[in-house]
Amino acid sequence: MTAPSLLAFEYVGFTYRGAADPALSRVSFSLPRGESLGIVGESGSGKSTALKLLLALNRPTEGRVLFNGAELNLRDRRQVRELRRTVQPVFQDPYASLDPRMRVDKIVAEPLVSLGLGGTTDQRRARVTAAVREVGLDVDTLARFPHEFSGGQRQRIAIARALVTDPAVLVADESVSALDVTTRIDVIELLARLRRERQLSIVMVSHDMSVVAALCDTTVVLKEGVVIETGATMSLLDDPQEPYTQQLISAIPRLPTASSR
């Protein structure tokens, strides 16, 4: 018997209160342990709604979200706590997602504190230090404030905060889109390394196909709340079956190659 998927959607639908149309309908996918998934779509595709459901911030109005094979129930505090430890978010805008009044050590320790994890103060401190080192920042980072760092460094701090609970999944919401292209490459490389070294799953919610191509085994293409196409990322890029996926791929601006001059 195969181990159950870490996270899965089963015919998930979601309608915001007061909205006429569902933001998501009949969306299904699964995330096997250690694999990575890209959720690709444009504005209005429902990708952010899917993310909120994965993080148990909302409850689906139709269908089920499965966590370790069991239906996710937001009233089950033990289960939600386990999800919060296992599935950690990294948000798009590192300027908005780090509290400017907190020093970095406090920011990174926050998930441990709010989940009551990590043992004694000294043990927590050791985990925070290890997380900051793991994302390639110096230990003297800890005593400083977010505004002292560049966008790329802040995103590293946000990733360190996510790693501190020793999660199995990082849910990244456009986590590199706001960064300059040279910095973006560094952060993608960091995420690729964490994937390799920790067998960490990454759920990358993005409109940027090249980021998804670099990090995700499987990709789900969403449009207006519906799954248009699902498949192995590279075969989806090489041979998209749906016209919308083809359009999405051909619209990516690429540098002219020497032969196309």
């Binding site: 090249s210 619209a251 540098l255």
Partner: protein, 268 residues
């Protein structure tokens, strides 16, 4: 000569601290030419476009010279600036929702500059607005003309902003990241629209973006800015295929790495 920009030794400093955000740059634009400015955050590319229009906030001071068709912009009076803006030069911004008055209907947004600069009224104004809508490939219908900005999509809002910018038939269009905030499929359409309008009207273009791939498809010549200086300039082909400055090389290599990820599935 009409439709030329000549920037000489332009510096922009933060009033008070004296910090230089743009450091002695010089470049020019010939009539009908399309020039790109590529740079990352903090390169000074956006404030440079503001200086071209005399739109710098009070907290920033420009020195040096910016001539648009011979008119000096640095230190110009509001009256002189009004003569240049709109007629000679217009700008579209990154975020169309911020550029459009949320309480004004699309038809009035486009009609206002036409009425002001061309003096059209009544049915003549109405048909001019319809022509503007059609020109930016928006449906020239009552529904669109009566819509408020929040009732249309982001791509449509940027088209409205472009129609407003073109209302006075400017000789030069300044576009600061005009497609960055848009979805990728919409982005491709808006860039195509900008290219078509420049070609149709022989309009000059100063196109600013962090995305060198987007710039490469839009302009013939480009400047690369880093930390307030121009580090490389030349025909876009040369910049993309044979960059000489170390920073430009890194920029091109990063863009290539992202393109290659689409083929190999890896960032290397």
């Amino acid at each position: 000569m009409s439709g030329t920009i000549e920037v000489k030794d332009l510096s922009i400093t933060v009033a008070g601290s004296g910090k230089r955000v743009v450091n002695g740059i010089s470049f020019g634009l010939d009539p009908g030419e399309r020039v790109g400015i590529v740079g990352e955050s903090g390169s000074g590319k956006s404030v440079t476009t503001l200086a071209l229009l005399g739109l710098l906030p009070r907290s920033l001071r420009a020195s040096g010279s910016v001539r648009v068709d011979g008119t000096q912009i640095v230190g110009a009076s509001q009256k002189d600036l009004l003569k240049v803006r709109g007629r000679r030069m217009a700008k579209i911004f990154q975020d169309p929702s911020a550029a459009l008055d949320p309480l004004t209907r699309v038809g009035e947004l486009i009609g206002e500059p036409i009425r002001r600069h061309q003096g059209l009224r009544g049915s003549a104004l109405k048909s001019a607005v319809e022509r503007s809508l059609a020109e930016v490939s928006l449906p020239a219908t009552e529904r669109v003309a009566r819509a408020f900005p929040h009732e249309i999509s982001g791509g449509q809002r940027q088209r409205v902003a472009i129609a407003m910018a073109l209302a006075c038939r400017p000789e030069i269009l300044i576009a600061d990241e005009p497609a960055t905030a848009l979805d990728v499929t919409v982005q491709a359409e808006v860039l195509e629209l900008i290219r078509r309008l420049c070609a149709d009207h022989g309009m000059g273009l100063v196109f600013v973006s962090h995305d060198i791939a987007v710039v490469a498809h839009t302009v013939t010549r480009a400047l690369v800015m880093q930390g307030g200086r121009i580090v490389e300039r030349g025909p876009i082909d040369q910049i993309v295929h044979a960059p000489t400055d170390p920073y430009t090389r890194r920029l091109v290599a990063s863009a290539r790495a992202l393109d290659e990820a689409l083929v190999t599935g890896r960032i290397s």
